[in-house]
Assembly symmetry: C2
Homo-oligomer: 356 residues x 2
């Protein structure tokens, strides 16, 4: 899922996202609640209509952002009190409010409110944290069921009343038994899908892999399994082999704006002097608009001048690369060829021959 935090995938327009073949976007409860406000978006017909995007939208619950962005957090069983990172105003997010916001947005997949356990965390902290996440997940589920009964579902972009999906988020830090406990408690509640949260928050990579490989098989195979916030493609290969189905990450878009571009040969840092007069396309094997229309020399020129077009063309290319990678990976999985797919791509993904 390309990330459109505040109802826009940075530097892209919705038509381009459609042409790129994106099938779902991720947007964010915390950000849209603060600005422009979920009531305004509801009034305007929901997030799909607001941003002119007809395909599915998954909204993160804001759990992660409330811990990473806001100031003066006060966590209690009730919820999280915090100050906006924009204007310092005081707010309180509760599981019920988070569900109300996501209903107002009309998101297709809502995420339960969770505490993203930091790293490092003691076993005791991680246990208390996952228990809180479980309680909040219960309240999210109940809140959704009540809303469903009250109005027969939620308004989506096509104005039909249907119930959106709700995913629970497994926490538990880096403690396998706590991950197991969290997963079991959530599965007991029967969510539409399950996410693994609280990874890639500073822990060593082998510990992250251990947690992914341990936790994923605990989740029901007949429900989507979603690894939150991880998008390094080497990590993706590991996670897919463990059974993960869904990802979101700002990596393709943020890297693009910083001039790091993914190609079939490896990563390229477009600001490198060697590209100053390079007439070739960014990636000769790529069919995206950027590669069809512009040279490395021009892309470097735009980047060095911090031109908006630099961010556009780079983002378009990286998203094309990512979406294409996932399309090919799905195809390989369908053909029972995931292992050879992984073997083929591993050296490419490790090749930073042009890294600056």
């Amino acid at each position: 899922m390309p990330v459109g935090t505040i109802a826009t995938v940075k530097a892209m327009d919705q038509n381009e996202m459609k042409e790129l073949g994106a099938e779902i976007l991720l947007s964010n409860t915390y950000h849209l609640y603060l600005r422009p406000g979920h009531e305004i978006i509801k009034q305007l017909g929901g997030l799909h209509q607001f941003m002119s995007w007809e395909k599915p939208i998954l909204t993160d619950s804001g759990g992660f952002q409330v811990f990473s962005l806001s100031r003066l957090r006060k966590i209690s069983e009730e919820g999280v009190e915090f100050r906006s990172h924009i204007d310092g105003s005081l707010h309180c997010l509760t599981p019920e409010l988070v569900m109300e916001i996501q209903a107002a947005l009309g998101s297709d997949i809502a995420m339960a409110f969770d505490e993203c356990t930091p790293y490092p965390a003691t076993r005791e902290y991680a246990l208390n944290s996952l228990q809180l996440t479980t309680k909040w997940a219960e309240r999210c589920k109940k809140s959704q069921e009540l809303r469903g009964k009250r109005q027969g579902g939620l308004i989506t972009h096509n104005s039909k009343l249907i119930t959106h999906s709700l995913f629970g988020i497994v926490q538990g830090g880096v403690y396998p038994d706590l991950r197991k406990q969290s997963a079991e408690e959530l599965i007991e509640m029967d969510f539409d899908g399950y996410a693994i949260g609280g990874l890639s928050v500073g822990e060593p990579k082998d510990l992250m892999y251990e947690m992914i490989n341990f936790t994923t098989p605990l989740l029901p195979r007949d429900r989507p399994r979603y690894l939150m916030g991880i998008g390094d493609l080497m990590d993706v290969l590991e996670a897919v082999s463990a059974g993960i189905d869904m990802f979101d990450c700002v990596m393709p878009t943020r890297n693009a704006r910083n001039g790091t571009l993914f190609t079939s040969q490896g990563r390229i840092c477009i600001r490198r002097a060697e590209f100053k007069s390079d007439p070739g396309p960014l990636d000769p094997d790529c069919g995206c608009y950027t590669c069809r229309s512009y040279s490395r020399a021009y892309l470097r020129h735009l980047f060095m001048n911090r031109e908006i077009l630099s961010m556009r063309l780079n983002t378009l290319h990286n998203l094309h690369f990512y979406l294409d990678f996932f399309r090919k990976m799905r195809e390989a999985i369908g053909n029972g060829e995931f292992d050879s797919f992984r073997k083929k791509w591993t050296p490419v993904l490790q090749n930073n021959f042009h890294e600056g």
Copy 2:
């Protein structure tokens, strides 16, 4: 002419410019000379190929930028010594070098090197300045003729050797007799077109109009007459009525990035609170992608968050508005209906009902 100072119309891509119906872009000698350098662009096949733009390009000579952007200018008859606004490096632009740069870029219309007389300037300063501009114009003309003889013309984007056009620039400050002297000296040299420079540099508007109305009729009717750097549409109407054929201005693009948008009802400042939940299109009478696809509320949201998509959608709309205005104006002129066109548009252009 939309302005693509450093080989990109800010926030747009070349495909969009084509779809908008732009028939010519303006780019800039000073900027491209400093970065990435005209030799690199020449090596890459010229500016058209470098930026993937097949239609005509006019390049400003850098006279204006050397005076407005660079530091430590030392003007002599030879040329202008200055320090780059980017890295402080020392450079000297001469008429010959300016022509060499524009030839390397392969621009379709090159501008002669001029001194942009500041305002206010004494009569004596303005006289010396215009005499310098005349001498430089002669050297530009000679330089172009020599190059034409030497190589049978200049390389353009389609790889055919043809000579590009060269326009002279009328200076003379706000002194009608000096404007007349400048125009006559340039006409004597027989340029392909004539520009009026040194206006909109701080002088009162009535003085600017006086100069436009006085100078334009002095220029040959069978050559393009180009008013440099002026793009306020009220000024454009005045200038067209005086006989001006060509304009360039950053107004549509810069205003777009600042959130000021042109509509068939007048100017709109998109950040105004009244648009917070406005579901309507920016301009109901506009057929551009922005107006067809997004609401004022969404445009305001993007603007308040300084999103890249805000600059894109706003720029697209403003350029569409401008290019459409000029298309309609040309049609009105062709039908002998310019006066009623001007009457119809004057109240709209003066209407800033939504100005913040």
